[in-house]
Each structure stands twice: as structure tokens, then as C-alpha cells.
Symmetry: C2
Subunit: 534 residues, 2 copies
């Protein structure tokens, strides 16, 4: 007996609803203002709604994770207090943006209590994340918690009976896990909508996309329901939600943060461009805290696919040599994006950094086409099968981006794959030369051709995908906001641009370093953020 997909969804949604404590529910007068067409920011709701105490507001708004971990280690704060504050704020965030898939607040508070006792008893923290709540994209497996990843056909799967290697590492470092976060159907669009959990909204403006695929993380970190979250990225899935929601998002080099043991939205044996895990946060030093903690835990002892490259302490430079890409002529950027990168470049130059415009580079159009060839290597269309298995429909953003052409999807051959691999190597060699010949520390470039835009209109993400094809680590820094009074339409930008719709949306820049130079990248991000005054 196949259960109707709607009843499966109803069952799952009822279960999730039960995870939300009654006493943290927002009043109807707030909830009635929430909709995916409401052109409003909800960033101020947590502090105003009356659910958080003054101390909880302070904990969640005025500190970063580095700060909180230090305060907990010094016993100025307990993990129980910090955890409760973030559980409550995440619950509020979820009601406003639909950012969560699983809430396990009870276990989180037990874990926090255990950690407080541990500190008391042992006289020292369990590890560098002692007591700190960390949110996880739904694909990570946590013992006893479901990993539905937005497929109705996954609803009746048993909860995970193991922890993903990264989860294991975070727990050993003393983290507290409390929520998992929403994603798009297939995990391959920038609109985090699926039929199981619905659509995640952007806390900066509910009528705009929260980005994807780690859109739940973006929204949650954007509204500080978490200040340290974990996403994954194969085409921008960490960086797009970050830049849509005003957070930092760091895409490390492949396999430096262990990626194994996740619920897989596609085919086993995936090759070519590989997804990878990385942090979203609200400060560069929290990104560093995450990266150093995980890599110093020797992830290669936990995960067969993790690279055995120890954390490398790089010496800090006072002045950087920065390559600059304003935009690619093949993919012009929207007015606020152009203004942000131009302003950043000027500011960094006047802060004493050497900024070198990169005149010639492989076109974003060519690279994006190649990357999407790599994303289309599964002739069995496994992700699509996971959809049709249950009878659920394809959501709009997936239908828009991945509907086969009228003549049907051509079969990809092994020869296609090897040709693409050869083309990829050539592009990597070209960029290697650009970095070496200009003696660049990093490149700054737009993180996307647009800011967060109305739902289901984000579409292709060339500015992030570019660096996945290259396997260059890349980090989004939130910087400036769209402003309809100055960001006037430009002829070059060929997509719809509605200055009013995106007014106030976060803007950003993207910082990129050479492959496996994650240490150099985070160091540069810290320097650049300082240079930008953010």
C-alpha cells in the first residue's frame, strides 16, 4: 500500500510541529503578518516578541561564538543558558522563516547540562566548542534524528542510527546540537522549498529567497537563531544563503571538512565536482573557530574521504595583493552588487592593500556551462527518481532549472565526462597562472550576480559555481545593503531588476584563495573584513 504523498507530508509536519514547545509560540498578531509575499524584515522580532529574556537577547545578539565559548569556559555563562537562548531564538526564527526541519531542544538542553557538569567536574572544557550550540543542514546524520532532505519518499525512513563524521567531531569538541535546517528539493536550487517542509523565507525580507541549498542555515544564521551553522556547497549552497541573508559563508576546499556519512540527495559514486561542507557564521573569527576546530580534530581519522592535511598556521600579512573581478561581461551583475564590489575595492585600496583588476579570465558563462555539465552526469536521474517515487510534484525552482529539453535529456557519455575533466584542468591551469604571475593572495569578486531576489527567481548561480569548478576555497562577506535610492538600473544587467523589491537586501563580496589554501583564505577574510569595517 503506497501512502498518498499528501498524507505523508501531513504526518511529518505534525511531528515537526510537536517539536516546537507551546510556550515559545509567537502570538497570532505576529504570525498573521508572516507570509512569503510580505515585503518586511523580521530581524527585530526575536528581541521584541517577549519570548526571550533580556539576558537571552544579549547572549544571542551581542556576542559571537568565540566570545560565548570563552565566557562558558570561564563560567561567566553556562551552556544551559546559552543553549536555551539559542533554542528559543531558533524556535522563533522557524516560525518566522520556516528554516528548520528538525528541532531536538530537549536533547540539546540535556547535553548542555551534561557539559556544564563536565566543566564543573573536570575543571576544563570538553573542547574548543564546549557548550556552543551548532546548527546543521538537514543532510547531516545525527543519531535518533531523521534526515528527510526534503524528499517525501524519505519520510518513512528510520531516523539515523549513526552520526556523520563531522557531527562526531563537533560533539567531541563539545558542541551542542539542537536543530537541523531546511533545503530545496534536490538540494540543487537557490530557493529552499520542498514539499515536505515547505519554503524557507529570508528574515531580512520575507518576500525574498533565503538562498539555497543551505537556505535554512542562511535564514537561521541571518536572524541569529544560530551563530554557527554547517552547510554544504556544490555550486554555492553555503555562500548563496549567506549572501542572501547577510551572513558569512565559507566554502572550504574539497574534503578538508569531512563530508562523509550524509543523506545523499543523488547518486552514489558521484564524481567531478564534489559537494563539501563548511560553516555559516556572523563573524570571521567564528568561521576560523569552526575550521580550526574541525581540521585540528584530524577529520581523516573519522572519514575515509577527508583529506589528511593538517591545519597550517600561516603568518599574517599586514597588506594583501588582491585580484579584482567586478563582473564577467558574460554575466553582468545587478546595480547593488556592482556598487558593493566597487566600494569594497576602493576601500581596500585606501586601506593599503594592492588591488589588481584581473583583465582576462575564463568566462563565467563557459565555466558555468561546464559545471552544469558535471551536475548532469547521472543518466539515471536519481534525484528525480526520489521525487517521483512518492508521487510528489516537482517544485517550481527545480522545474524551472532542470526540466529536460523538449527532445528529452541527452545521455551523457563517459567521453563527455573525460572531455569535461580535460576542460576543467585547462581552466585550473589558467587560474593557477593568474594567481602566480600576479603574486595574488586572494581574489575578490561578486558572490552572485544579484542579491536575494523574489522567490523562485534566483536561478543560475555562476558567481559561486565558478569556484566550485575550480575547487578554490571561497568566502562570502556580508557588506552593504541594496538601496533603491542609489542602485539604479543598468543596461548591462539583463535580468529583471526591481529596485524596490530588493531594497535593503544584504549585499556582499566573495573572497577566493588558491586550492587548499583555506588557512590563507580565512586569514585574508579577517584582514579584508577589518579593512571594510564590518
Amino acid at each position: 500500500m503506497v501512502q498518498d504523498w499528501r498524507s505523508l507530508v501531513a504526518q511529518k509536519r505534525a511531528e515537526v510541529a510537536k517539536q516546537l514547545p507551546q510556550e515559545w509560540r509567537l502570538p497570532t498578531e505576529i504570525m498573521s503578518t508572516i507570509s512569503e509575499t510580505a515585503n518586511v524584515s523580521v530581524l527585530d522580532v526575536p528581541a521584541k516578541c517577549g519570548i526571550l529574556s533580556a539576558k537571552e537577547i544579549d547572549i544571542t545578539e551581542n556576542h559571537d561564538a568565540v566570545d560565548l565559548v570563552e565566557k562558558m569556559a570561564k563560567k561567566e555563562l553556562t551552556s544551559s543558558e546559552v543553549t536555551l537562548a539559542f533554542c528559543k531564538r531558533a524556535a522563533i526564527a522557524h516560525q518566522l522563516t520556516n528554516c528548520l526541519t528538525e528541532m531536538f531542544f530537549g536533547q540539546a538542553q540535556e547535553r548542555a547540562k551534561f557539559l556544564d557538569e563536565y566543566l564543573e567536574k573536570e575543571g576544563k572544557p570538553m573542547g574548543p566548542l564546549h557548550g556552543m550550540p551548532v546548527s546543521l543542514k538537514d543532510s547531516f546524520n545525527v543519531k535518533g534524528v531523521s534526515s528527510t532532505i526534503g524528499y517525501v519518499s524519505f519520510i518513512n525512513k528510520k531516523p539515523a542510527d549513526f552520526n556523520s563524521p563531522l557531527v562526531e567531531i563537533l560533539l567531541k569538541a563539545g558542541a551542542v546540537l539542537y536543530v537541523k535546517t531546511n533545503i530545496p528539493q534536490t538540494l540543487m536550487t537557490a530557493d529552499s522549498e520542498n514539499n515536505v517542509f515547505g519554503r524557507t523565507l529570508n528574515p531580512c525580507n520575507l518576500s525574498l529567497t533565503a538562498g539555497g541549498s543551505s537556505g535554512g542555515e542562511g535564514a537561521l544564521v541571518g536572524i541569529r537563531g544560530s551563530i554557527l551553522g554547517v552547510g554544504t556547497d556544490i555550486a554555492g549552497s553555503i555562500r548563496i544563503p549567506a549572501l542572501c541573508c547577510g551572513a558569512y559563508g565559507f566554502k572550504p576546499s574539497t574534503d578538508r571538512i569531512p563530508q562523509g556519512g550524509q543523506a545523499n540527495p543523488s547518486r552514489d559514486g558521484w564524481a567531478g565536482i564534489i559537494p563539501l561542507a563548511g560553516p555559516l557564521a556572523q563573524s570571521p573569527r567564528d568561521l576560523r573557530l569552526f575550521l580550526e576546530t574541525v581540521i585540528k580534530s584530524k577529520p581523516w581519522d573519522f572519514d575515509a574521504s577527508a583529506r589528511a592535511k593538517p591545519w597550517d598556521s600561516v603568518s599574517t600579512k599586514s597588506s594583501l595583493t588582491i585580484g579584482l573581478i567586478y563582473e564577467c561581461p558574460s554575466w553582468p551583475v545587478s546595480p547593488p552588487v556592482l556598487r558593493s564590489i566597487q566600494t569594497a575595492a576602493k576601500k581596500l585600496e585606501s586601506a593599503g592593500h594592492k588591488v589588481i583588476p584581473i583583465a582576462k579570465f575564463p568566462s563565467y558563462s563557459e565555466v558555468t556551462e561546464l559545471a552544469f555539465g558535471f551536475f548532469d552526469i547521472d543518466n539515471a536521474e536519481t534525484g528525480h527518481k526520489f521525487i517521483v517515487d512518492s508521487g510528489e510534484p516537482v517544485v517550481k525552482s527545480v522545474a524551472d532549472m532542470y526540466s529536460p529539453p523538449p527532445g528529452g535529456r541527452p545521455t551523457r557519455t563517459l567521453d563527455n565526462f573525460l572531455d569535461m575533466t580535460a576542460s576543467r584542468s585547462e581552466i585550473q591551469e589558467t587560474w593557477h597562472k593568474i594567481f602566480i604571475e600576479n603574486d595574488l593572495d586572494v581574489v575578490i569578486a561578486p558572490g552572485a550576480q544579484k542579491t536575494a531576489v523574489p522567490h523562485d527567481t534566483f536561478k543560475l548561480p555562476p558567481y559561486t559555481t565558478y569556484w566550485n569548478l575550480l575547487d578554490y576555497p571561497a568566502c562570502v562577506i556580508p557588506y552593504l545593503r541594496a538601496d533603491k535610492s542609489i542602485d539604479v538600473a543598468r543596461a548591462e544587467y539583463q535580468e529583471d531588476y526591481d529596485a524596490s523589491a530588493v531594497d535593503g537586501a544584504p549585499c556582499s563580496i566573495q573572497v577566493v584563495a588558491r586550492p587548499e589554501h583555506d588557512e590563507e583564505l580565512i586569514a585574508a577574510v579577517e584582514i579584508i573584513a577589518r579593512g571594510l569595517g564590518v
Copy 2:
């Protein structure tokens, strides 16, 4: 006008013959004893033939590269003396075993003179290989030298107009390049025969294979015409020649030694199991000298494909935990191979190391089949095209191993490739568990199921290929020799075994470490070699 392949070969051989100075030619009484059926060792010929001075014999026989580099730095020896000694010995080796493809002794001696003057003028060596002759597999590009890699169709290609990144690094480290070495047609067999340069013989016994594909390196290092050579390995191509010719051969993890910019015997865009570069030598510390020199040169600055993993100084252990594989039941080993690994295990145990037999591991038969599936991903059969382009015939070892089945070679699909990738990951996960659960430092296993055997009978190399599929670094240590008086036939060994034919052939063990644990591997090799008294 297509030139007949035979005349192209005659032209190329005449050019190579000219590179061999008249005064270093061996007398007819020696040359008349040289043939691929002569069951004789020629290891003693260089010292006896009268071409080398007593000092040259001492330089080439009684020192390793570490020692020579130190003596040159202290001006106890000049690079000119050392280079001349190895040029002469390589010329002798070539006449005995046909191990070279290109000799550039004149340039080598000019370079040595330059380095001697450099040391005089600068007061310090150019780098850690200052003055040291290093031999290269034919596939490496050296400015002004041809890279024919055994294809007749490559004979009329222009000499290289650039140095491979690894060559560039070696030169910056002060190395002297003087010869390139022979390989098999296609580079995919363990018999280094091709129609351009002919067959390389084993200096330990001319009637036996020198191994392949870095067979010229194996023979040259085996007879000490070089004591530091560079090979490449996709299925055992460094380790098989080493174990056939009584040398050390170190297969690093993929892309730690830069592999880029070589003449490519196959298709661009190759994926799956990737070839890699590594050293052959006559002492563990010379392997270390090579690895440290190259990796400390930051190969990722020279080669877009090189991993950016700095050399990691690991602390030296006094006692190792060693996993042990005697043989795989699916591929029983020959009597001298079994005796060598058994003797090594006992000796290491009595030297205080913990030796843990690995009872269960993925079968060599299954892994080898999977690996050869990866080697067969090029439906265009590019390597074969390079052969037929000139009209040259396929050599016996290639025909024996790669002739298509009667019904023709089946087309490999992208789905096959992804399935193979999934299977490979599973095997990697299994081995990850074996290492972690047993807390192993390394595994010792046979390097091959046989010693060097009569020409064209080596065939499949499961014992080396196994670790290419896993991408585990692996090193062959020469240890013991086949002895017809004790290595009696065993029923389990299913291939031809002729105790007399292989009598005296070098035996070996293979030491294997976890992925990217090249530093741990070389440290373990040093300890194990000491433990074995070699």
C-alpha cells in the same frame, strides 16, 4: 608522405647511438655476452670493465645521494666529478640493459661545472640536491630533449620547449639531469619494451624483466647508473621495476609530487585512478631526500595539479604497529615472495614491532578487476591510436594484456564509471576502518605475486595496483633474493614457477600507509629497513 615506421625507428636509434661517447663503449667481448636470453647478472660489469676510475667506482658504489650531496657541499667532491662518474656508469648500464632513451651527457657536465662555480662564488649550495645527478623517466619534459615515450608516431615531434614542473623544481634544487629512461609501449605493462627503443633488460639477470613501466629507471638504479631516479606509477610502475631490479621505489599519494607537464601516453582528461610521480633509489634516506626536497619546494606553486600540502615533520616512533598481509587467497604468491614477507614479519616482530595479521580485507582479485576497469575508460583507445598511427606493431606484453575480447571491447559508459567510483569508495572505507580499528601505522604486504620473471611473463600486477585504487602511498624495500635451493614450488601458486630461472632475483616487501601519510610512510620505511638490517 608517411614515413615507414622502421625507417623512423632506424633514424631515432641512430640519433640515440650518437649520444653515447665512443670512449665509454664496452668492448666486444663484453657486448657479445649481452642478450635478453642470457641468464647472467651484469651488476659487476661497471666496476670491472675498465671505463670507470677507482674514484668513479667509489663515487657510484659506496655512497648514497645524501652522502654525495653532503660531500659536494663540503667541497670534498665536485659536481663535475660526481656527474662524470654517473654519466659514465649510466652509459655502461645502457649498453648492458638498454635502459636509456636520451643521454645528454654534455649538457650535464656543463651544468655540473656551472654548479661547481656557483658553490665557489656563492659560498653555499644552490639547494638540497646541489650537484647531484638525477635520472628521469622518458615522459618528463626537459627543454631541448625529446619525449618519445616509446611511440613511433611521436618520433618526429619536436624536442620539448619547456620543463615539466617537477624538472623545474629539481633544477632549482641544484640537480644535474643527464639521462631519460625507457618504458613499455603504452606505459601500461611490466615489460619495458617498445618499438622505438627496444627492450630494457634486468641488470640482476638479463633474461628477466626489468619491470615497468619505469623499467629503464629500475634497471639504471639497480646497477647504480643512477642512485636517484624519477618514475611514475598508476598500477605499480615505480614499484615493479624497483622490486624487479633490487631498488627502493616509493609511490607517493596522488599529486604530492607534481605530475603535470609530462608527455601523455593516453587521453587528456583522464579520471579515476591517476598516475603519479615518485623516486627510485638505493637507500631510504635518498627517498626522503627526494620527497622532502620536492615537497618543501611548494610544488603547488609550479603545477596547478599538485596538492598544496606542506611537508609535515612527523615524530619518529621507536616501535610500529604493522598490519600484515602474507598474500591474498585470490592471488597466491610465488615461493620466494612468500618466504621474504614471512621472514620480514618475523624479523620485525623480534625487533620489537607489533605485527598484526589482517585476517579480512577486500580481495586482490576484486580490487584488481575494478582498477583495470578504471584503466579501460577511454573508449577512443587513445594509446592504441598512438600505436597504429605509425603502422608499428603492438609489442607482445601489450598484446597479451590488452587485446580486445573476440566480440570487441565493450563501450564503457558514464554509469559504469560512477558505479566503479562508488565501489572504490566502499573499498576505501573498509581499509580506513582496518587502519583505524587496529591503530596501524603501516601495512606490510608483498610488492608483487612474483619476483622478476622471464620477459613478457609478468602480466597483471595486483599487489601494486591494489594501493593505486586505494590511493595509499606505498614503498618497495628490496629484501632477500630468490634461492632455488629453498624456494620450492607450492601448490597454491598457480602461475608458472621456474626456480632456476629466477634464482638470485631480488625479493622485496611493500610498506603501505594511509592516504597522504607520505611523511609517516617514509619514516616507517626507514625504521623497517633498519629492522630488517638492509
